[in-house]
Amino acid sequence: MTDYLRASAADLVTALEAGETTSVALTELFLGRIAAVDGAVNAFLHVDREGALAQATASDARRAAGTPASTLDGVPIAVKDVLATEGLPTTCGSKILEGWIPPYDATVVTRLREAGLPILGKTNMDEFAMGSSTEHSAYGPTHNPWDLDRIPGGSGGGSAAAVAAFQAPLAIGTDTGGSIRQPGAVTGTVGVKPTYGGVSRYGLVAMANSLDQAGPVSRTVLDSALLHEVIGGHDPRDSTSIDQPVGALADAARQGASGDLTGLRVGVIKELGGEGYQVGVEASFRESLDLLVSAGAEVVEVSCPSFVHALAAYYLIMPSEASSNLAKFDAMRYGLRVVPDGDPSAEDVMRASRDAGFGDEVKRRIILGTYALSSGYYDAYYGQAQKVRTLISRDFEAAFEQADVLVSPTAPTTAFKLGEKLDDPLAMYLNDLATIPANLAGVPGISLPSGLAAEDGLPVGFQVLAPALADDRLYRVGAALEMLLEKKWGGPLLAQAPGLDTVLGGRVGRSAPVSRPPNSTTGEKA
C-alpha cells in the first residue's frame, strides 16, 4: 500500500483519481501527523481541522460526480500565515495581529479553495516575514525536521518544515529575499519564487511590495509546478500582476524529468560562491553541475558584478517599504491594542500598541526604513538602492544572453543551530546573499535539494534562476536534476532524513498548538 504521508502530491492525485483513497482520508492522515509531530516541529500557528475536513468532503463529492475542480482537487495544503484567510486567524507571526480574523481571502487562497485544496492550517514564520530562521516568530521558532535543534530557514520555515515533516504534501510560501528558497534548501524540500507579478499579491500582507512574491513549497519539482499552475495568473485586484497565462509548467517538469538537457546553456554566477560558502555546500553544488553536464547541458561561467551590492540595496529598499506598510498596525481598527494609563491620546495608544506588538527585528527594520526614506537621506539611500537594483537587472539581462538559466547554491550554509545567529543580524542577513538578486530583478527562481553536506549531513539547496516569465525553465531544469539526483540516491533526499518519530523520542505526542488564546488586550475592532 502506498505511504500517502510520504507520497508526492502528483501521486496523491493518481490515488484519488483511481479511487484508492479519498480527500477526507488524506486530510485526516495529515491532520493526524500534525497532531503527532507539530508539538516538536511547531510548523503550524493554527490548524483548521473542521474547515479542512469540510473542504475534503466537498472535494470527494466532486470526484464522485466526476467533476473535480482541478488536478489537485482534494490534495491538502498548508498556507503561510502571511496570507489573509477569511474566517481563519492570520497573525503574520506577530503579536500585533494576534486574534485578527480577516474578513476576506487572499487571491492565492481563493484559488486554492476554488481548485479544491483543503487548507490544513496556517504555518509559522518570522514576524511579518522578516528573518531567515523563523526564530523571529512571536509564537516560538519552528524546528528543522532534520535536526530539531536547528533552524528550518525563514521566513517561511513553517511551510518548509511542514512539508519536510510530512505534515502536508504542499504548502504556500512567500519570498521577498529568499523566504521560500532558503527554507527549501535547509529542509531538503522544493520551493519556487515565481516571476514577480506571476502570482497575485492581493491578500499577502506586504513586507516589501516590490519584492514579495507567493509561491509553491513541495517535496518534488512537479508538485511545485502543479501548485504554481493553480495559484498563478493575472488578478485584476493586483495592479502589478502580469496579464499573461501562467504557462504549461507541469508539462515543462515532465519534459525535464526525461533527463535530456541537450543544448541547454547553464550559467554559473561567479559572484555567488567561494568565500562565505560552506565547503559541503560548494561540493554538493559542483556534483549537481556535473550531473547537468551529463544530461547534455553546457556550463558557462557568467559574471554579475553588481550582485555584490545586492544585499546592501535590499536592506534599504525592503525596510523602506516595510516601514510604510507596517504603519497601518496602529491599534485603531484591528489587532493588539494597548491603552496606557492616564488619559492617553490616540498617538499614545498607537505608540504603546506598536511597542508591545512588534518584535525587535520588525522594529529594527522599521527604524532602518524610516531613516532611509527621510528627507535629506532619500537620495543617498533609497535612491541609490534603486539604481543598484537597475544595475542588477542589467547584470541578469547580460547573463541571460549567455545562458538559458543561471545557477548557484541557494544558501551559503546548511541549517545552523537555533539561537546561533539571533544576536548577529548581519550574519543572519547573509543567508539570503544568493537569493536576493532574483527578488531585486523580479526574475523567478527555484531551490531543490542537491544532497547532504559531507561535514554535517544536512541538506543543501541548488538554485536555478530564469529570465522573467520563463518560469517553465525552472521546472524543466529542476525536474531533470531531481531525476538524476534521485537516481543517484536511490530515492528522494527526504528518505534519508531521520524519521521524525524516532528522532523525536519523547517529544512526540505533545499536543499540537491548534490555537493559542490571546493573552493580551487584543481584540478586533469592527
Binding site: 511590495n209 495592479s239 523602506s320 510604510s324 485603531m332 481598527r333 490616540a346 526614506l373
Partner: protein, 499 residues
C-alpha cells in the same frame, strides 16, 4: 475666541506686500473610490461604504480608478496644464487615526498635470492670470468626530469616532504658484479664483462642487513681505475655508494678522490655521515646517500611469465649452453690455438667466427679473437668489404671460409672491389669486364711465383734444380695477367715449 491683534487692511498694505498660494481639493464624483470598488457617494451610514482596501486591512491592495485619472486629466487640460507622459503615485507617510494605512496614496514629484493657468475675471472686468503649479491625484481620508469636548475639536474630547466612508474618495489637489503683486486685490483674486475654478469644475461635470459639503475645499497660504522687497515671508496655511466669501475674508484676516505681528517686530509662526466661519477669525492649528517629513516614495503596489497622447488629445478635443468662452458667447448672443454681463455674473445669476432664456424668455426680460426682482427679494430675506423657490421655468412662464398681455409687471410681482409662498405654478397662482388682466369691454366700460363722471375737468380737456390728459383717467380706472385692467384697451375706450 481670538485675541489676535489686527492692523487695518489699508495700513497693512502700506507696509507689506502679500503673497498667496491657493490649494484647492476637488472631490471627484466618480461612481467608485480612487483605489477600490466602494461607492464614492456623500453621506451614508458611517462605515457602510468600506472594504478591505479602503479600510487598509492587511494584505489589501489598491487598483487605480481609470475614470478618476480621466477626470484629473480633464481638469488639467481645462487649466491649460501639461499632462504627464508618465507619472506615479507616491505614499505620503504620517500617522493619523482617520487615515487607514497611515499613509495617503498621493502624487509627489510626478503629478498627472502641471504648468498651467487660469485667467480669472475680477468684478471690475480686469483679467488676472493665476499660474497653476500642478494638479495631482490622491485619496481622501476618513472623517473624525470628536465627542464630548466643548469645541468639537480633538483637544478636550472625551472620545473620537471615525467614519471611513470618505476614505479613498478620489481627490484632485490643484496648487497655484505664488500669486504675487496682487496687493489690495489679493482677497478678491483669491475668491474669484476659487469661484471660477469651481465654475470650471462644474462645467467639466467631474465633481458635485459643493463647498458646503466639502466636495471643494480651499486652503489659503499667505505670507507678507515688506513693501517693495519682492521677497517671500513666512507663510501660514489656513484650512477649512469652505465658502467663497470665507476665502476672501480669510485672506484679508491673515493679511491683517500677519501685518500686526510683523509691524510689532514679531515673527510669523509657520503653522496651519483653522478658519472659523462664524466668528470670521483664524486660530492656530499645528506647527508646520518645511522639514515636515512625509517620507514620500513611489507607491510600489501601483503601476505608473502613462496616458497615451491619443487619449490626451481625445480628452482635449472633447472638453466642454469652458466658463469664460461660454460667457463670451452668451454675452454676444444675448446682446448684453459688459456691465449687464458683469452684474449678471456678480449676482450669481448667470446660470439662472441662461436657463430662463432657454425656457423661452427674452434675454433682457430674463435678466430684468433675476437681477432686479429676485436679487432684491433675496437680499431682503438674506438668501441666495437660487434659494428663493422660483425656478427659471417659472420666470419664463410669468414672462410669457406678460408677453401675451395677460399680466403686467405689477401683477407679475404678485405671481412671484405666490411662487415664493409655494402656491403652485404661475398659471395656478394667476387663477387662484384672480390676477388676470381684464380686457372685457363691459367691465372696463363701466369703470371708464365712473372715472369720467368723477373727473369732469379731465374729461373736458380730452374733449378739447388734449388726449395726453387721458393718463389721469387711465390711472383712475386702473385703481378701480385694482391693477387688473388692460391699460391699452382702457385708453382706447376713454378716447372712444370722449371724442
Amino acid at each position: 475666541m481670538s485675541t489676535d491683534t489686527l492692523l487695518s487692511f489699508e495700513e497693512s498694505l502700506e507696509k507689506f506686500d502679500p503673497a498667496m498660494g491657493l490649494e484647492v481639493h476637488v472631490e471627484l464624483n466618480t461612481n467608485t473610490k480612487m483605489f477600490c470598488g466602494c461607492p464614492a457617494v456623500f453621506g451614508g451610514e458611517p462605515n457602510s461604504q468600506v472594504c478591505p482596501t479602503c479600510l487598509g486591512l492587511p494584505g489589501a491592495m489598491p487598483v487605480v480608478n481609470a475614470k478618476a485619472v480621466e477626470s484629473a486629466m480633464r481638469i488639467g487640460l481645462a487649466l491649460n496644464c501639461e499632462i504627464a507622459e508618465w507619472c506615479r503615485f507616491a505614499r505620503k507617510n504620517y500617522f493619523y487615526p482617520d487615515m487607514p494605512k497611515n499613509f495617503q496614496t498621493s502624487q509627489y514629484d510626478e503629478p498627472i498635470a502641471f504648468e498651467g493657468y487660469l485667467d480669472v475675471e475680477l468684478e471690475g472686468g480686469e483679467i488676472v492670470r493665476v499660474d497653476i503649479e500642478r494638479a495631482h491625484m490622491e485619496e481622501d481620508t476618513g472623517k473624525s468626530l470628536h465627542v464630548g469636548g466643548a469645541t468639537g475639536r480633538i483637544h478636550g474630547a472625551d472620545h473620537s469616532l471615525v467614519d471611513y466612508n470618505r476614505a479613498g474618495i478620489p481627490l484632485i489637489e490643484i496648487v497655484t504658484k505664488p500669486i504675487m503683486g496682487s496687493r489690495e486685490k489679493a482677497p478678491e483674486i483669491a475668491k474669484a479664483y476659487v469661484a471660477q475654478l469651481r465654475e470650471l469644475i462644474v462645467a467639466l461635470g467631474v465633481s458635485d462642487a459643493r463647498m458646503d459639503q466639502g466636495s471643494i475645499r480651499a486652503d489659503v497660504n499667505l505670507s507678507l513681505a515688506p513693501v517693495g522687497t519682492g521677497s517671500l515671508g513666512t507663510r501660514t496655511e489656513t484650512k477649512n475655508v469652505n465658502s467663497l466669501r470665507s476665502v476672501e475674508r480669510a485672506v484679508r484676516y491673515e493679511m491683517q494678522r500677519h501685518a500686526a505681528i510683523l509691524d510689532g517686530g514679531g515673527s510669523i509662526l509657520q503653522e496651519t490655521r483653522h478658519w472659523h466661519e462664524d466668528t470670521g477669525v483664524t486660530t492656530s492649528g499645528r506647527p508646520k515646517s518645511d522639514a515636515d517629513d512625509y517620507r514620500y516614495f513611489p507607491e510600489p503596489d501601483l503601476v505608473p500611469v502613462a496616458p497615451s497622447r491619443e487619449w490626451v488629445e481625445e480628452l482635449k478635443q472633447t472638453l466642454p465649452e469652458l466658463p469664460r468662452e461660454k460667457r463670451a458667447r452668451m454675452q454676444r448672443e444675448w446682446g448684453f453690455s459688459d456691465l449687464e454681463m458683469r452684474d449678471t455674473v456678480g449676482a450669481g445669476a448667470l446660470g439662472l438667466v441662461e436657463e430662463t432664456i432657454a425656457a423661452g424668455a427674452a434675454p433682457q426680460s430674463a435678466r430684468k427679473w433675476w437681477l432686479s426682482e429676485m436679487a432684491r427679494r433675496a437680499n431682503d430675506s438674506g438668501q441666495e437668489i437660487a434659494e428663493l423657490g422660483v425656478t427659471p421655468a417659472d420666470v419664463a412662464a410669468v414672462q410669457a404671460l406678460v408677453d401675451a398681455g395677460s399680466l403686467n409687471d405689477k401683477l407679475a410681482r404678485q405671481v412671484f409672491d405666490g411662487l415664493i409662498a409655494g402656491e403652485g405654478t404661475p398659471a395656478e397662482i394667476v387663477a387662484a389669486r384672480g390676477l388676470e388682466i381684464v380686457s372685457d369691454d363691459g367691465a372696463l366700460g363701466a369703470a371708464v364711465d365712473k372715472a369720467i363722471e368723477a373727473n369732469p375737468d379731465v374729461a373736458d380737456k380730452i374733449r378739447d383734444g388734449k388726449v395726453a390728459a387721458a393718463g389721469a383717467l387711465i390711472g383712475a380706472v386702473m385703481k378701480e380695477m385694482r391693477g387688473q385692467a388692460d391699460a391699452g384697451r382702457v385708453r382706447e375706450l376713454i378716447i372712444e367715449k370722449l371724442t
